[in-house]
């Protein structure tokens, strides 16, 4: 039952800084996901919160306590590791009860807590097995069970699903979300998978090279990315980015195609920009969402198709850049076929070509 606050938290390995003065306020009961490409400092941040790494600078608070110098055991947190980190010599039952055993709880109390956790995670038939006799998904559930028996203030998850196959990952994702709804504990969850981040988070923290790039709800970071990095990192398929310049109040793509300037964006005359449009906002006519007030139209030959069932991804080339578009109620499309696409300009983005910063006002 606690909020977590990071104030100018820094981590350096020797002279090498890997986390640069990050600030983060996590409310009690919130589900926050740290997401970013591999090596951006997510695990390091999480491990500083856990107490597994020294904090080189700044302050970490859990509840009303400054925990910088507290060992992990005094922080009342529990953590689920990427490789499960189960105790191989203990049975599932012993793994689950270990922290309570260390906390010197009574036998019946431990048995009750273990039975409860096992029940929530459907581990009851496996209680007497050793981790070596479990499948990956089962091990993952034991790791989660071990975390929940203690009723900690904060759950920390470090890429807990990345070793599972796609189907199991989707399943466990739902279980984790359900678990959060049930126990209501603060969760800090690290992943490099933006789908996991979008589906799980109350708020997403996007990190890059040891900096926080953007913090926001899944919809906020999806709809209003602060820069081109977030724009391409969040959302699947990634947002299409095309180099363009602003001339004469219009947007001129590399091949000279002129488009009206998307509304709500501030770009000055002659500015070099990146024009960003998601596949959902560029659709062939007759297979699209209802047109909005600001539509532009382009003809584009289709080079590749990816049928997904309810929709088909169309690959084409626009102004020398490969572009992915979406086709609703799909019909078969031949490669080379030229389709007329509508672009919903009011959903489009402009980023400064140099800094990548969003030009949305």
């Amino acid at each position: 039952m606690a909020e977590v606050v990071l104030r100018d938290v820094v981590k350096t390995y020797g002279a090498l800084p890997v986390v640069h003065a990050i600030n983060l306020d996590i409310a009690h009961g919130e589900f926050v996901v740290l997401v970013g490409p591999s090596g951006c400092g997510k695990s390091t941040t999480l491990r500083m919160i856990a107490g597994l790494e020294d904090i080189s600078g700044g302050e970490v608070r859990i509840g009303d306590r400054m925990v910088n110098d507290l060992p992990p055991r005094d922080r009342n947190i529990s953590m689920v590791f990427q490789n499960y980190a189960l105790y191989p010599h203990m049975t599932v039952r012993e793994n689950l009860g270990f922290s309570l055993h260390i906390a010197k709880r009574s036998k019946p109390e431990i048995a009750k807590a273990v039975a409860e956790a096992a029940d929530i995670l459907s581990l009851t038939p496996l209680l007497d097995r050793k981790p070596g006799q479990l499948s990956g998904g089962q091990r993952q559930r034991v790791a989660m069970g071990r975390a929940i028996v203690r009723h900690p203030d904060v759950f920390l998850f470090d890429e807990p699903l990345s070793n599972l196959d796609a189907k199991l990952r989707t399943q466990m994702r739902v279980e984790i979300k359900r678990l959060h709804q049930k126990v209501g504990t603060t969760i800090i969850y690290v992943t490099h998978d933006q789908v996991e981040a979008m589906t799980l988070a109350d708020r997403i923290v996007i990190m890059r090279d040891g900096h926080i790039v953007q913090i926001g709800t899944p919809l906020e970071v999806f709809e209003r990315p602060v820069n081109s990095f977030v724009a391409t990192f969040i959302g699947s398929p990634p947002m299409n980015l095309m180099p363009a310049t602003v001339t004469g109040g219009a947007l001129r793509l590399a091949d000279g195609t002129a488009l009206p300037l998307p509304p709500g964006l501030s770009a000055h005359e002659g500015q070099a920009v990146q024009f960003g449009v998601r596949a959902d906002n560029i659709m062939p006519e007759g297979h699209s969402l209802p047109p909005t007030a600001h539509m532009a139209h382009v003809d584009m030959p289709v080079t590749l198709t990816e049928p997904l069932g309810t929709e088909t991804l169309l690959f084409g080339t626009l102004a020398g850049t490969e572009v992915q578009a979406k086709m609703l109620n799909p019909r078969p499309v031949r490669t080379g076929e030229v389709l007329r696409f509508g672009i919903a300009l009011d959903k489009c983005h402009l980023f400064d070509a140099e800094t990548g910063a969003s030009l949305r006002v």
Partner: protein
């Protein structure tokens, strides 16, 4: 002319067979056979005097033999446990060192590089009651003013031998346990820290179970070593005073080569080997159990 052709695989294996036969099988059979005779080294013709299991029966009823047997078990127990504890402590400490660890690891091996005979002489000197280092040190420090008869008192002499054994071979444990420490996965250790363990509890509940297989390997190696202890004891006390430090192999060696009763010595030797086998089997069992419990078995 008819020529016998042996199959090539047999021709190729033949030298190995011949060597094995000459150096292992024949001595083994011969010594086993002689343990059923009244063979005396000084009277070679006695090797044909078959006396059945007389030698074995005699050993079974020989109080000196059983005393030596018991002492060997005691030495094994004391030395192995001490070496394990010291080796564990040493390994844990060395694993913490970051600067100069290689050098430390190499230095740790030094005692193993000396001939046991020389170690025996060295410790004989250290424990000498007149000129020995230990008594001199104790007296200079004012801890005692009598000359403690280290190698003259039977119990003290036994402890002196334990000390020499431990000094030479603690590094066997230290090195193997250190290898174990380096092989421990970090995840469970971190999980334990998060689960509320103090450093000691982490060691006790997570690190140590991971080290047990390495400890049992060291135990198995060292139990063979100590069960055949001869050189250090022979040099330091020669089994004395008054047989108070007599071990199996000093007794067997004396019976065979000094008393020349080779048949009897061989019979005792075969019983003694049983001891080694029992200990080795025991530790391998423990090793297997420890590995299985870590999910490393099969």
């Amino acid at each position: 002319m008819y020529q016998m052709r042996l199959p090539p695989w047999l021709v190729l294996l033949l030298p190995a067979f011949v060597i094995l036969l000459a150096v292992v099988a024949i001595p083994l059979v011969l010594s086993l056979y002689s343990s059923f005779t009244a063979f005396q080294l000084t009277r070679p013709e006695t090797i044909t005097r078959w006396i059945g299991t007389f030698n074995y029966g005699k050993a079974m009823g020989d109080a000196n033999f059983w005393a030596a047997f018991g002492r060997a078990v005691l030495l094994l127990t004391l030395a192995l446990n001490l070496e394990m504890l010291l080796g564990l402590g040493l390994a844990v400490m060395v694993a913490k060192v970051t600067l100069g660890q290689r050098l430390l690891r190499t230095m740790m091996m030094f005692p193993m590089m000396f001939s046991p005979i020389l170690v025996g002489f060295q410790f004989k000197f250290i424990f000498n009651d007149n000129v020995g280092l230990l008594n001199n040190a104790l007296q200079s420090l004012g801890l005692t003013d009598v000359a403690i008869p280290w190698l003259v008192d039977g119990n003290l002499a036994f402890l002196a031998i334990v000390a020499a054994e431990v000094w030479t071979s603690t590094s066997v444990f230290a090195i193997l346990i250190l290898a174990g420490i380096f092989a421990i996965p970090q995840d469970p250790v971190e999980a334990a820290r998060v689960d509320g363990c103090t450093p000691w509890q982490t060691f006790r509940y997570v690190t140590l179970p991971f080290l047990m297989p390495f400890i049992y390997i060291a135990m198995a190696i060292r139990s063979l070593d100590v069960a055949r202890a001869y050189d250090i004891v022979q040099v330091m006390t020669a089994g004395g005073p008054a047989r108070r430090t007599e071990l199996l192999w000093t007794l067997i060696g004396r019976t065979g080569y000094v008393d020349a009763r080779m048949g009897y010595a061989n019979a005792m030797g075969y019983i003694a080997i049983l001891l080694s086998i029992v200990f080795t089997v025991y530790f391998f069992r423990k090793l297997t159990t420890a590995r299985t419990s870590l999910g490393m078995g099969d």
